[in-house]
């Protein structure tokens, strides 16, 4: 019970920790105040509890595949908001040690844009926590029926949370420890991996529900790196590793990654147009 609890909780926490750490790095980099974390965790916890309580009924929707359909819908929504977040990141970035207070006249516009970034982050994180947290609540809720299981499960869950959070801190400082010019690209690559993983998981869920047709297996690396090995679990939680992914999963993984890179390209294009005097609308009031 104990080890099972550690693995199960760790897997859920790791997935969330990677996403939150990367978004925290982006917040630091683009001068977005990190207060969103507490709001997002609270919203996510409420969402997860609501989802867990209603899971039994939701599962019976669409001829007993409601769970897959709703989970896939949540994944696609997160993907959509990740794209918007990337495309509309604030213009100004900060090097480690700098802060928005050092900003010049543009600060008002900067903070207005930041407001929207916080909305996207809140939606992304609370939706992700709703999905991952619900499974934790259902698991813990089931254990309460067996008094002898409560202590090992909760101890295991505590250790799982501890390791997961430590990994999150490690990712956060690891990313911030990169040479300044690599922080944003590094964060972008990690965000793209999260997006790819989500798209692939959503596709798998829809295949499981028979809403998407079966597609051939791309490769079988179950002998080389089994999914139930420690490294397999770790890579599954972080980058969505699967030993036998389907063709559709592979395609959606690439599409998820491309979405982030294309949204970033859109952002840079928009910013360049703004800088260009030919297309920049002169504001006579400022």
């Amino acid at each position: 019970m104990f080890l099972n609890s550690v693995i199960l909780i760790l897997q859920e926490i790791l997935e969330a920790a990677l996403l939150i750490s990367v978004l925290l790095v982006f917040s630091k980099r683009y001068g977005i105040k990190p207060h969103w974390l507490f709001v997002a965790i609270s919203l996510g916890a409420i969402g997860a509890l609501f989802f867990a309580i209603n899971m039994a009924d939701i599962s019976e929707w669409f001829d007993y595949v409601g769970q897959e359909v709703v989970n896939a819908l949540i994944q696609f929504s997160i993907l959509f908001f990740l794209g918007i977040f990337t495309a509309f990141l604030p213009k100004n970035s900060f090097l480690p040690g700098e802060s928005p207070d050092t900003l010049n006249k543009e600060s008002t516009r900067h903070h207005q844009k930041n407001g929207w970034s916080i909305v996207w982050i809140l939606l992304i994180v609370s939706l992700a926590l709703t999905r991952e947290g619900s499974e934790v609540f259902i698991y813990i809720g089931g254990v309460i029926g067996h008094p002898s299981h409560i202590q090992p499960t909760l101890t295991g869950a505590g250790i799982g949370v501890g390791i997961g959070l430590s990994a999150g801190v490690l990712i956060y400082y690891g990313l911030l420890g990169l040479p300044a010019k690599w922080i944003a690209p590094g964060g972008l690559v990690l965000l793209a991996l999260v997006a790819g993983n989500m798209a692939s998981q959503a596709t798998l869920l829809l295949t499981q529900a028979d809403w998407l047709p079966y597609s051939t297996i791309l490769w079988d690396s179950s002998e080389l790196l089994p999914e139930n090995s420690i490294l397999g679990h770790l890579l599954y939680a972080l980058v969505g590793y699967e030993a036998t992914p389907s063709l559709f999963q592979g395609i959606s993984y690439i599409c998820g990654m491309l979405l982030i890179f294309l949204c970033n390209l859109l952002r840079t294009t928009l910013l360049t147009q703004h800088k260009n005097p030919k297309t920049f609308k002169i504001n006579t009031h400022s």
């Binding site: 099972n4 199960l8 899971m55 039994a56 007993y64 067996h146 499981q208």
Partner: protein, 114 residues
């Protein structure tokens, strides 16, 4: 215009009929979960065929049907049913387990040539 509408109706009807035939063609295999055990623990399904697993959790606690080999994962609430589609698969053995009670809840899908 009327002819067009008729054609559209025929097309819709054939699509519905085709859809119902596809649903009807999917074999259903029932599995029970009781006292954190799968009954039957070994199920046999034909190769290269999509199969609908109808899992009935008779325990009051939730269980998660999971299989690395089948690439499937689904929470089944206590005293509820769930559906998981598997296949088409090549012949072989595909173990599955209950992630919440993996010590006891173990089983496998054996895919055989029809």
């Amino acid at each position: 215009m009327k002819n067009k509408l008729w054609k559209l109706k025929t097309a819709a009807l054939s699509l519905v009929l085709w859809g119902s035939q596809v649903v009807a063609a999917t074999p259903v295999v029932e599995i029970k979960i009781q006292d954190h055990l799968f009954f039957p623990a070994v199920i046999e399904i034909p190769a290269n065929t999509k199969v609908k697993l109808l899992i009935n959790n008779l325990d009051p606690t939730a269980e998660e049907f999971e299989s690395y080999e089948l690439n499937r994962e689904k929470v089944i609430s206590g005293n509820r049913k769930a559906v998981v589609f598997v296949g088409p698969l090549p012949p072989g053995e595909y173990p599955f387990f209950g992630e919440f009670y993996p010590k006891t809840a173990q089983g496998k899908v054996v895919v055989v040539n029809p």
